[in-house]
């Protein structure tokens, strides 16, 4: 108590009004860790507690009546002045301000300025109170840092990222959205989310957005429509979150066009690497984790450190995803190498014994035929025929397996022209036949020229083969606009097939006719199906025994790619 009295006497000599308002009140003020200042309308110090006096120049012995400008560091005054001007106009001002303590220590304070009025209500002075803020409490500064950081993080995210409210007004988005869409930031600010989709996608997207706001989360694949009219397949994941009591949609989208290619490549190694869905699911998990983190961040704004950690995690996740994709690629490459080695060894090791079988059978026929009866010669013929057939099977199987790891190119293909060329090539090997080809004009196809050529070769040779019993065979190629959104067809009036076996047509080594009726290895149509499927199309057939068959196939259009 004695000590406090001494202190009080010291301070009293320093700065307090002579008309002391009361010993107790003053003790309270003096002892408070809160910095307190009373000043008049001329900014002259009337009363300052020891906590506040830390801001004052210690060289100044007397504070009372001195202008604040002369007591605090110039930098501090620059910060205080606007608040003081406002408080003297009658406003209460609060905020966070950075002052400089004598000795150039910067420190953040939560500050509160309140006007002091006389009985007539005139502002005659003001009170300022300030509390030093701990490092982690520097809310605004951290928010600013955080904003820069999250902007950076959001902009470095792969794919597009956006927030919009229930009215569809965009609140925030990353640069990718501008880069991918081709719209400027000011344009996006006035656009609706539906403006980024073509007519076909508008309704599903509108439904999806409604679902996000009602149920909380939706994932959807749609074509993102750019300013210059390109449509890019995107996988969108959106979630609802509440910011300041209002529902907001937070979403991101990942470009699937590259993924689709990867998917194709991966499908190529069929049965070895499972469907790409696994990785896609993984991507979605990452995707979701990212959004969860962002959601957490927004729900828990004050835990800024956590935000930073979350964003770092997010970047780590993205890095992990990239590493995982690289690993998948490496695995894919090694699988491809194995397949190549396999085909190499099949072509070397399986064919050599066959050549020997037919070679020695031939040698026996040549060298020993006088000693063989008809039956013996016939059996040797059969040995050779079967060796030849096995040779074809090996070739077809190799072609089929190569197809799985062949890379695809995409070009526009004139199918009518292709059918004409292929037909004449194949017809040249069957000149004894009478075949009439009706070749309609068709829309251009979009695909790998060599593979699509293989499809046409297989379908046409099929048609030629199975019309063998017709005196004049008819083959027709054309396009049906209204079938499955547009399908090409190859029709013949040949042997046809029973529809109950239609599902067996496209299986490897599946045959509906005996090799005596129609030769073949049963790989041709399987190859057709594999090629069309790899292109993202569909193939099916219709037929009746002895009434011909029609093979239909679809190919995605160029704009769908």
């Amino acid at each position: 108590m004695a000590e406090s009295t001494v202190l009080q006497q010291d301070r009293a000599s320093a700065c307090h009004a002579p008309d002391d308002r009361g010993h107790l009140a003053q003790s309270m003020v003096e002892a408070s860790p809160v910095m307190m200042l009373l000043a008049d309308s001329n900014c002259a110090c009337q009363l300052a507690n020891p906590a506040f006096e830390q801001l004052f120049d210690p060289a100044k012995k007397e504070f009372y009546g001195k202008h604040l400008r002369d007591l605090v560091e110039n930098e501090t005054w620059q910060v205080m002045q606007p608040s003081i001007e406002r408080v003297l106009l009658g406003d209460t001002v609060s905020g966070e301000q950075q002052y400089v303590l004598p000795g150039y220590n910067h420190q953040w304070y939560r500050t509160y300025y309140a006007p002091v009025r006389d009985e007539a209500g005139q502002v005659v002075g003001f009170v300022e109170q300030a509390i030093p803020l701990e490092q982690e409490q520097r809310f605004e500064e951290n928010m600013r840092r955080e904003k820069t950081f999250s902007d950076m993080a959001i902009n470095s995210m792969p794919g597009i990222f956006y927030l919009f409210d229930q009215q569809g007004k965009f609140l925030r988005w990353n640069q990718n959205l501008e880069v991918v869409s081709g719209y400027s930031s000011s344009e996006i600010a006035t656009m609706s989310p539906l403006d980024f989709f073509g007519i076909q996608d508008k309704e599903p997207i509108a439904n999806a957005i409604r679902t996000v706001f009602t149920e909380g989360q939706v994932r959807i694949e749609a074509k993102f429509l750019t300013r210059d009219g390109r449509k890019i397949p995107y996988n969108f994941l959106a979630m609802r979150m509440i910011v300041d009591g209002k529902p907001i949609l937070i979403g991101s989208g990942i470009d699937m066009s590259g993924r689709k290619e990867a998917e194709d490549t991966q499908r190529a190694t069929l049965n070895i690497l499972q469907d790409f869905d696994n990785e896609r699911q993984y991507l979605q998990l990452v995707h979701k984790a990212t959004l969860n983190l962002l959601e957490d961040v927004h729900e828990d704004r004050l835990q800024l450190n956590m935000t930073q950690r979350a964003l770092l995690n997010m970047l780590e996740d993205i890095e992990l995803e990239r590493v995982k994709a690289e690993q998948a690629n490496a695995l894919l490459e090694s699988v491809n190498r194995e397949l190549e080695a396999f085909s190499y060894s099949v072509s070397h090791d399986l064919r050599a014994p066959l050549r020997a079988i037919s070679g020695f059978a031939q040698a026996v026929i040549e060298d020993y035929s006088p000693r063989l009866d008809e039956n013996g010669k016939e059996m040797l013929d059969l040995v050779q025929q079967n060796a030849a057939r096995m040779g074809r099977l090996i070739d077809d199987l190799l072609a089929f397996s190569r197809l799985n790891h062949q890379s695809m190119s995409h070009h526009s293909i004139n199918l009518q022209e292709l059918v004409k060329t292929v037909f004449h090539e194949l017809y040249a090997q069957a000149t004894e036949r009478k075949i009439k080809l009706t070749n309609h004009p068709v829309p251009p196809a979009w695909g790998d020229p060599a593979m699509i050529r293989q499809v046409m070769v297989n379908l046409i040779s099929n048609a030629i083969k199975f019309t063998r019993q017709r005196e004049v065979a008819h083959i027709e190629f054309g396009y049906l606009r209204n079938l499955e959104g547009g399908a090409y067809f190859m029709r013949d009036d040949g042997a046809g097939f029973d529809m109950q076996y239609a599902n067996k047509l496209f299986g490897v080594f599946q045959r509906l006719h005996s090799t005596i009726e129609f030769e073949g290895t049963g790989v041709g149509l399987a190859l057709v199906q594999r090629i069309i499927t790899r292109h993202g199309g569909r193939v099916w057939a219709e037929g009746h025994p002895d009434q011909g068959a029609t093979f239909y196939f679809t190919l995605p259009r160029r704009e769908d790619q």
């Binding site: 190499y344 072509s347 050599a352 014994p353 050549r355 070679g359 020695f360 060796a387």
Partner: protein
């Protein structure tokens, strides 16, 4: 080594690990009366020993086919590419025509063979009748049409 071995005068050296293919090749040559002076060796090590002898210091030990070496690529012990490399890098054998006769149509094999200066690269046809016809043509060409290197 084959019973046809004749160290004084060898026209064709066949280096082929598949005994069936070797037998069929020799049968075709015989049928067309191309030559009796041929030798069949079944791997790369035998081939190198035959061509260069065991004694690296003694140049006179090796054998030198007059017309052509038919060389398979996939050989036990020492493969065809290495045999080709040795043949091409040795003064004694550098000029001997070498024809690769293999079932491989792999790009890397074709490139490697030509990079080492092979005279011809032929893929064995799968069907025997085609195989027989190709072997007969090869034999006719190298025995009757092509002018062999002198000395």
């Amino acid at each position: 080594m084959s019973e046809l071995f004749n160290d004084a005068n060898i026209d064709i050296l066949i280096i082929e690990d598949d005994p069936n293919d070797a037998k069929l090749i020799m049968r075709v040559f015989k049928k067309h009366n191309l030559t009796n002076n041929l030798v069949h060796l079944k791997d790369g090590a035998e081939a190198l020993e035959f061509l260069f002898g065991n004694d690296a210091a003694n140049d006179s030990v090796g054998n030198k086919p007059n017309r052509v070496i038919l060389l398979d690529l996939k050989l036990p012990k020492i493969d065809g590419i290495e045999v080709l490399q040795r043949v091409r890098s040795d003064e004694r054998t550098r000029n001997i025509p070498v024809v690769i006769l293999t079932s491989s149509s792999e790009e890397r094999d074709i490139k490697a063979a030509y990079a080492l200066g092979v005279n011809s690269y032929v893929t064995k046809p799968i069907r025997f009748d085609e195989f027989a016809s190709v072997v007969a043509k090869l034999g006719l060409y190298w025995m009757l049409i092509n002018k062999p290197p002198l000395g």
